[in-house]
Symmetry: C2
């Protein structure tokens, strides 16, 4: 099997070069409006699951091309190793601990949850509305499914998608219980709805076409709003278990079912970028690709791979929270770069708000920083650390290349899922030791002291509201 | 930290396109001579240690560019998980079991070995000599250090390098013994020589400049022989332990000492490709980059990473024998491709001999196949399987995406280094399960039967000569 990233021949390069030169001059005059933003978010995709991040059997030519044309981040983090808190952080630029979007009892929102993103939180969509952006969300929301929590009540003009994880709403009578049934796609076990804005329009959702339909909805929105600045948030339901893909992708990947699904997400990215080029919006649009958390390793072949990183989804090892991330903005983000600068999905909030010329909220703590210096190759950003929360527990802290684990808890071996406390914390140098293999806490007490100080500083300003994830459904909704 | 792969701007692209179009026409007329070959071989480099194979903190912009301009193999194997047999196979296109270049008692040649590559073996250099190639070897040979075994008595016009591993010839009085000393670069423990042809010209070798000097020698050779077809074999001593790099690379890599050394090898690749472009030889030269075996995991941070692959050097798990491999030939090997076709370093022999118009030997079994179909995107090659030998033991067999382990033996945990026998063999699907995690032998007896038949067929034609690796030095040489 061989594939080829779309690349021009010399003659095409010549022609393309001329076209680009002319179009850039034209666009420079037209580009008075703020940039468009597209955020494509995969679900449970592993750090090592893309071709450009080293996977040997999953083919991702569109994401590889996106990386070749843009900036690939090798040290980019989600704010949580599970869905709901991770997505809340992306949308608000704030740690989930600050807005009740995490819990130690229930790690994410469920169909029987009555909570969701608090009304006083400012979502990216709301922040961009102040600058006249058209805003659309197409995919998995997972910040509350009651009407007041849905995208259209949180800054988005329109919403289309499954409101929570695609393995929820199980039909009790649809098949055997237990973990084997849980991830066997032959057993139709799920009853998740598709919503248009706040209305259920399909139930159970036909998930085989879900990646394609999210993509088509996003593209229609882009075409409809090409004359105004827009935000497209495209959080795919894939590659969360249960895995589904459309007929065109059945048996396509050498990686099997999981690979088929990643390759369809890759196709989706290709479609979006193609649309932007086609509409001459590529040089006016900043696109981010990332994932909400690491691979779901408990599901064997149905889970992804974090590559050389340790562990996966649900944990605060690197495999749980470091995400394969790419930024793309032809003409602004120079092509073919790889950066080791730290980044966080929370930074996407601050970066987009800043680039739009809107106000980053000052009445609350915003954890995201502006990524512009690294995007535009102008120097370091203000991000020097990463906080690894699991529920309300601050498990680990990264400071420069160093990572201290105050607590650890693995995901995949049932016999070792106990939380372990480390005092002094385990210390790893993630530059030298990206796989967290060699604890060197005895050699560097001075680093531990710096990290302790950083934690104390963080805690001093921390206010922890009640958890939204523990609120049951109001009686009348059941 | 941010780096940028060398990439043209639009204006440069335009100019470059025009230059390329003209130069290609010119070269098409001139290129009657057979192609040049350059084989750059790293030592103990892990599958996951290059940027284009997913490493997060080692920067390899030159190899990344080579991949972007060429063909990246994700399923390319050495013929052995240790140095001597791997290199013998590369040079002869034959499994080491066929020519005595392996052993169960001594896994590689040592300074007290009296054996080496048998005189009746046909090396790639000897095969290309029949077509008038200039042939140079610059680096680690490790196929015997007595005069009759050295490169200049095996088809190479010239040789410059350390004749075996850079950790050999230990000075007994130079420092404390034991493993800690063994890999501590502060303890100068080694007394390896540098040879010019068959003469020792420096001892101990100054290894800090070894990567740079091999590169300079190779480039001088290319410049001197630019008017005739040439073979340059550049087997670096790095990144084998002990690790050394020149002053320019000290502290350069976020991965530490090991990363510094990989980044200097990357620099070397950049220098070679730059020279080929500079001399207008790029479109007449096929360049391969690969490694002799996987990372030496027993040395902690001083060893590399096999990425998502299992285990490393010395083992017949994927991490021991799958190599980060790139082929580059502008104008012939189309750019930006990634292939999952199987390949072996033994195939480099057959491919080069075939492309040179020389004869692939027919009086003996050649295990290499011609990679031209995959290089030139014309279809599958004849390689359908990979045999994983450890010494004289056939440990495992890959057949298509399937891999059966008859025996396993890990490298890094002392308590588990025992050889385990598996009957029936362990069976993994390397497409779905590249990390060899999920044994599915009970589900696929028919695949095991096919692999058993393949093994029986292989053994029917197998003649095993006495090992060269067990021959002691003749008394007079000591």
């Amino acid at each position: 099997m061989t594939h080829r990233a779309a690349r021009p021949t010399s003659a095409m390069t010549l022609l393309l070069g001329m076209v680009l030169l002319f179009s850039r001059v034209a666009i420079a005059h037209a580009a008075k409006r703020p940039p468009n933003f597209v955020i494509i978010y995969a679900d449970d995709l592993g750090y090592g699951d893309l071709g450009c991040f080293g996977h040997p059997t999953i083919r991702t030519p569109h994401l590889d091309r996106m990386a070749n044309e843009g900036l690939r981040f090798t040290q980019f983090y989600s704010a949580s190793p599970v869905c709901t808190p991770s997505r809340a952080a992306l949308m608000t630029g704030r740690l989930p601990i600050r807005n009740g979007m995490c819990s130690d009892k229930r790690r994410v929102l469920f169909p029987d949850s009555g909570g969701g993103i608090p009304a006083d939180e400012i979502t990216l969509a709301e922040a961009l509305k102040s600058k006249g952006y058209a805003t659309g969300c197409f995919g998995k929301w997972h910040l509350g499914h009651l009407p007041q929590f849905l995208p259209t009540n949180n800054g988005f003009d329109t919403y289309y998608g499954i409101p929570y994880s695609n393995d929820m709403d199980r039909l009790a009578d649809a098949g055997p219980k237990g973990r084997a049934a849980f991830w066997d796609p032959k057993i139709e076990y799920w009853n998740v709805p598709i919503l248009r804005d706040t209305e259920v329009i399909e139930r159970p959702a036909d998930q085989t076409t879900i990646t394609r339909r999210y993509t088509e909805e996003a593209i229609s929105f882009i075409r409809a709003h090409q004359e105004e600045p827009f935000l497209v948030y495209l959080p795919h339901s894939m590659v969360h278990i249960p895995l589904f893909r459309s007929d065109d992708f059945v048996g396509k990947s050498a990686r099997g079912l999981y690979g088929d699904c990643v390759e369809e997400v890759d196709w989706s990215v290709g479609q979006v970028l193609h649309t932007l080029r086609d509409l001459n919006l590529d040089e006016q649009t900043l696109v981010f690709f990332s994932s909400d958390n690491g691979p779901w390793l408990t599901f064997n072949e149905h889970g992804g791979s974090a590559g050389l990183l340790k562990d996966g989804k649900g944990t605060t090892f690197e495999g749980g929270m470091r995400e394969p991330t790419i930024a793309w903005w032809p003409g602004r983000v120079s092509s073919g770069r790889v950066t080791q600068e730290l980044g966080s999905t929370m930074d996407i909030f601050t970066t987009c708000v800043t680039l739009a010329g809107a106000n980053v909220p000052t009445d609350r703590i915003i954890d995201g920083v502006d990524l512009s210096p690294v995007l535009f190759d102008e120097g370091p950003t203000n991000r020097k650390s990463v906080l690894y929360y699991r529920g309300t527990a601050l498990m680990a802290v990264r400071f420069g290349p160093w990572k201290a684990h105050y607590f650890t808890q693995t995901s995949y071996r049932k016999d070792s899922r106990q939380r372990e406390t480390h005092n002094p914390p385990l210390l790893y140098h993630l530059g030298h030791d990206p796989s967290e293999r060699f604890n060197i806490n005895e050699e560097h007490p001075e680093i531990l002291a710096q990290i302790d100080a950083l934690v104390a500083d963080h805690r001093q300003n921390l206010e922890v509201p009640a958890s939204q994830l523990e609120i049951p459904l109001p009686a009348q909704s059941e």
